[in-house]
Amino acid sequence: MIYPSAELARIASQRRRQAILLGVFLLALLALGGRVAYWQIIQRAALTARANAEHLRAVVFAAERGMILDANGNILALSVTRDLVIADPDVIRQSGALDTDAQSLGLALNLPPGLLRSQLNIPGAYVALRDAAGAPMLLDEGQRAAVNAALANGALVGVALYPQVIREYPDGGLAAQVLGFVRASDGVGQYGVELGENALLAGQPGMLLTTVDANGDPLATGPQQETPAIAGANITLTLDATIQYWAEQGLAQAIAQTGADGGTVIALDPHTGAILAMANMPSFNPNAYGLAPLANLMNPAVSAVYDPGSVMKAITMAAGIQAGAITPESSLYDNGSTVVDGVRIYNFGRQGHGRENMVQVLQYSANVGAIWVAQRVGLARFNAALAAFGFAAKTGVDLPTESAGLLAQPRSAGEAALTLAENSFGESIGVTPLQMVMAYAALANGGVLMRPYIVASATLDGGFGQTLTYRPEARRRVVSAATAQTVTQMLVDSALVSEAQMNLVSDYSVAAKTGTSTPDPARPWLTYASVLGYAPASDPRVVLLVKLNHPRSTIFGGSAAGPLWRALIEQILRYYRVPPDR
């Protein structure tokens, strides 16, 4: 076919226009490509974040809190799920179901329908039902099953169950001040082991990053990224629930018998520093901690400071023997009083004992004899001995709110001499019960002071992970083994014939000392009455302190605290199947 030239010209013109059009399209395509690249590459991160914010949700879920167990694996604290009954009063009113709901719930919960009706009829769209005492109603299994059945039958409108995790202490108040409690509002441990080991017990919360629908509900089929929660560790204590129970029961009985305001019992293994029991009265029930006075939440065994009284005389003797200032046979003439810095200091009852050796000083609990020893040791060496035994410093126990105790700060040589004299028989010095126990534990442990501890081990991940075991830790040698042995024998000899009446303990030799301090000279009848010692003296297994605050029927350590001390030491040694040594 032959095209005429006009046709060729027209074709050429068309091709030019096509080329121009192609150019325009290419430019447009380039612009579009550039725009796409801008959004897809340059703005990618920002757009992804915005998109994720719309269709992804991070759901944080708490980790299960670990249990607290005693040395034998008995559960002392655990977390359980309970249901609250919640309701929407608006829906109930609109449905006209107020009376039927109240009736059905009353039947299921065994409560008067009137009480429930008034709660279901409050203004608003949310109510959590409370019991007759006004506490949030946490259902037991029977109530839960009954409410679930009513819900399944359609007998309840606008009502639902809402699960809530609570901390439970099955033994009630057993070792409450040691354990502490968990604050319901945020699940954080307060006081005691719950506070001290909160990081381990709480575990690590998990997170679910999930795709949600338009209503914000997770899509099971959408992409999900889950970081599982790591359950809290199960903490095993050195505490023995049986000994703790005996200690608490015995203490409550002794308080009732003597009319004391309160008291403390501590039992400890002197070779390791492991705390076997730590009981205090008054105490509280961690299941209802909100009802307890604030003062009862503290653990006085580690945080309350008191004048120990004559139990300190064993430490004075140890300082004297270690310094070479005395031997058990050293003697003095005791006429019942002595003068220090112009102040006359008396024996208890102002009684003189004539010539007495060091064992008799312990036996009579003679203040004059103790002052004589301290003066021979000298101020510097005596204060060094107090520091070595751990006074005026924290013991390092793994319990919170520990106090370091108090030492007097004399402002003159005269005051220093008076302080030395008073410290020798346990006055003008503030110690915690645990500090005093540790000082005796050092004597029982051949002169080596251990760090007291109550957490024996922690098994991570709810008891299924790695187990961290805490080893006993020796802090320092306080006195030589020979000194410790000598003081132990002095305590054994004196306790047999003193007001401690350790001759009444059958089968075991006991190294113990009584203490009666009168911190308020204006009210000398208000005493701290205590017995502190260890047994069997030949190979001590337990150091035991029984201390009563302000006993009324009898104010002395031996008569007020002695009976409980003797009963407990026998029970504990038999419980541990310790062979008799006497």
Binding site: L78, V80, T81, L174, A220, A241, P579, P580
Partner: protein, 130 residues
Amino acid sequence: MTTHTLHASRERVRHSKHSSHSLRRLHDTQHGWLARFAGQPLPLLALECALVIALLTLIYLTQVVAVDAANTQLQAAQAQQAQLQRQDEQVHERLALVESPAYIHRRAIALGLRPAAPGPIIVIPKGSGQ
């Protein structure tokens, strides 16, 4: 006819052949399969379409049902897990209660038991044969 004219004529002829070949190929491409498809009777065509749609619907529904079933299973498993967790908690709680010294003491008293007076300790040396 000059050489130049002859060459121009051959060029036009070649161009013309090429154009007709391209048109035919385009015609075949655009109308070949369509013509064959369009040539079928209408009921058969409708049946084929319905079959294709049904197949697609079946595939879609199968997936939806599978997803729903998986969701149901997942929910049931989660509910079972929650239930088992509750049971585990209850067992621990019950265990804690019955092992509690206070509970044992109360039960023992309720059963009429009383603490025995501690008897003498008898130590049997190792190897004594008793």
